[in-house]
């Protein structure tokens, strides 16, 4: 303890961070009641030495692009969008204050409720499916078989392609009358295959199935998680007589829960951002106007087609609030099912 403190003191004297601390608050941060906590989590704030001041000035210079970006592209727009959401504005006339009018208008807006329905339907179908398929696929890709790298490459390619290109490909494949998919289905004896995008009931499931083509991207994330699981855990489990299923259930799965949490979060937030696919499919032949009106597409239409910038800002705020609620709810439950391995390096 004394040694650590001494090193700290010398480090501070020299004006540079202690070599072992990685610029983060040290573990020796005082307990409750140990005086005012500073940003560095220790000791009352002292006037900085000249070197430290110089370092601090340099740091803010290095940060300046991001600080400017934060101000111009985040803070100002967030405030502006909150204010805008209480106005009625078409860009041509002066904005005019309507109070909560935009939010009240949502209650009776069919397009809004429809976009919520479409997005929720998409989440309910896609998130569990992609998570399970991605996980199974990663288990398959984690097997030690010859030529596995080739398979990994193939499976991964669709996830680097653009939403537009993939949508264009699948809108032709899923053509209800002459498309290859339905021809294949007829060939194996299904006389009346689904009409996919042309059928409002099948439109969202079609998008979910299309997304399955790019599920390899998610599998790579699980694969990285799988490869970080220590072999000693499997050895210990085998010594205790665990079979393959038990090894998965009691070693692989718990150790993978942080990855699952990450994927769950990103895919839920991602569902509010579905745009490219919806834009292409809603505009192309086949789909009717409403069955693929995802949340973001509806917001985009209100803003840039209908020029209702105030109303679109209100929609944006509903989106932020919904996303925040979802994220907080998941973090609330995370401690119950996410398992974090004790890592001495982090202490």
């Amino acid at each position: 303890m004394r040694l650590v403190l001494q090193r700290r003191m010398t480090a501070r004297f020299r004006g540079w961070p202690a070599p072992d601390r990685g610029g983060r608050p040290g573990p020796a941060s005082p307990g409750p009641g140990a005086g005012k906590r500073t940003v560095f989590g220790r000791a009352p704030r002292l006037p900085l030495s000249r070197t430290r001041r110089r370092e601090q000035r340099a740091a803010y210079l290095f940060l300046s692009p991001w600080l400017l970006g934060l101000l111009a592209f985040w803070i100002v727009p967030i405030v502006a969008s909150l204010l805008l959401s209480f106005t009625d504005w078409t860009l041509i006339f002066k904005p005019h204050w309507v109070g909560l009018g935009n939010y009240r208008a949502m209650a009776s807006d069919h397009d809004f409720w429809n976009s919520i329905r479409v997005t929720v339907k998409y989440i309910l179908l896609s998130v569990p499916l992609y998570m399970v398929v991605g996980l199974l696929l990663s288990l398959l890709l984690n097997l030690k078989l010859r030529g596995m790298n080739v398979f990994r490459t193939f499976l991964f390619i669709p996830s680097v392609l653009s939403g537009v290109a993939v949508a264009i490909l699948w809108v032709s494949l899923l053509n209800p009358d002459v498309g290859p998919v339905n021809q294949a289905l007829r060939a194996i004896g299904i006389a009346h295959p689904p009409r996919w995008l042309a059928d409002p009931a099948w439109a969202v499931p079609s998008v979910v199935l299309m997304g399955l083509w790019g599920v390899g991207g998610g599998a790579i994330i699980y694969l990285a998680g799988l490869q970080n699981i220590g072999a000693q855990l499997y050895e210990a489990a085998s010594l205790d007589g665990a079979g393959p299923w038990q090894r998965f259930r009691f070693v692989t799965f718990p150790m993978l829960t942080p990855t699952l949490l990450f994927v769950l979060l990103t895919s839920l937030i991602g569902a509010f951002q579905v745009f490219d696919t919806a834009y292409v499919l809603a505009g192309s032949q086949g789909a009717d106007g409403t069955s693929l009106n995802f949340y973001l597409l509806n917001m985009w239409t209100e803003a840039f087609t209908n020029q209702r910038f105030g109303y679109a800002s209100a929609l944006a705020w509903v989106m932020i609030i919904l996303a925040a609620v979802v994220i907080l709810a998941i973090f609330r439950t995370a401690s119950r099912w996410v398992y974090y391995e004790y890592d001495p390096e982090k202490e």
Binding site: P65, W66, F73, W74, S81, K144, L145, P180, F304, S313
Partner: protein, 315 residues
Amino acid sequence: MKSADEITTADTRQEAGVTPAAPARLRSKRTRLTAKWRPRSVIFRTAMYILLLIISGFILLPAGWMLTAALKPDLAPVFTIPTQWFPAHYWQWQNFGRVLFGSLSFLRYTVNTIIIVVGNILGILISCSLVAFAFARLRFRGSKTLFYLVVVTMLIPWQALMVPQFIMFFKLGWYGTYLPLIVPSFGGNAFFIFLIRQYMRTIPRELDDAARVDGLNAWQIFWRIILPLSTPVLTVCAVFTFIWSWNDLLGPIIYLDNQQTFTLSVALANLVTRAGTPWNLLMAANLLSMIPCILVFFFVQKKLIGGIASVGLKG
């Protein structure tokens, strides 16, 4: 801010794929050698190969069908019974030339897209490496709070702010130019700042200390020591930026109003929503727009997978 803490841990954990420090590499190698389960039974292995082949077919068949359609002459039907999954009869390679140089003028859209992509890569590399260096290596008041802000902006979808951003750029007179599509990347991107910072933290601190003893200032340490050592993670960031901005539709569709300035994504989306585009040319154009991403992917595959593991591709 417990939540932000948890995110940080979750991500650092996945990040081992791009860690440069020797101990981490050794550790992951050791686990990789033994953690993989080597199936012994021949039946099981054959079954797995069959499964893998079926899945690869699911990936490859649509791509093969697209190539077949793109290589057909104008009068040959694209939808045939039975379906032709791979090109066999027609080899009209000139279709690609027609898409690029003909009335569809995809060459122009490609050039436009390249301008935006290059601008974005420059912006992201310059801004994110500077900011990440400050977070990873320098001490300053408010560092923790500011880093939480990075994590928070990572969770807010930027699309929620597209309306006020549009109004801002419109008032600046930037509507219809590439500036709104390029300039924001010079303000940094939370994902990349996070990724580069995590990487820079693993570079041994003794290097900095030695440099300081030699009298180098913060900028010189960044430019001569940390930046050259960070090229792997910078490559990952450049490739991600390439793929994301090459594929972006929402940004260009909001800010570009003139056909001459359209990007590939916008042109393609217009092509498919406009009735009467011949299928063979549509598929050729579609295939052309995919090729750069596939090529980039092949060249940097290994690094990319490590990077994707750490941030998630569609994050």
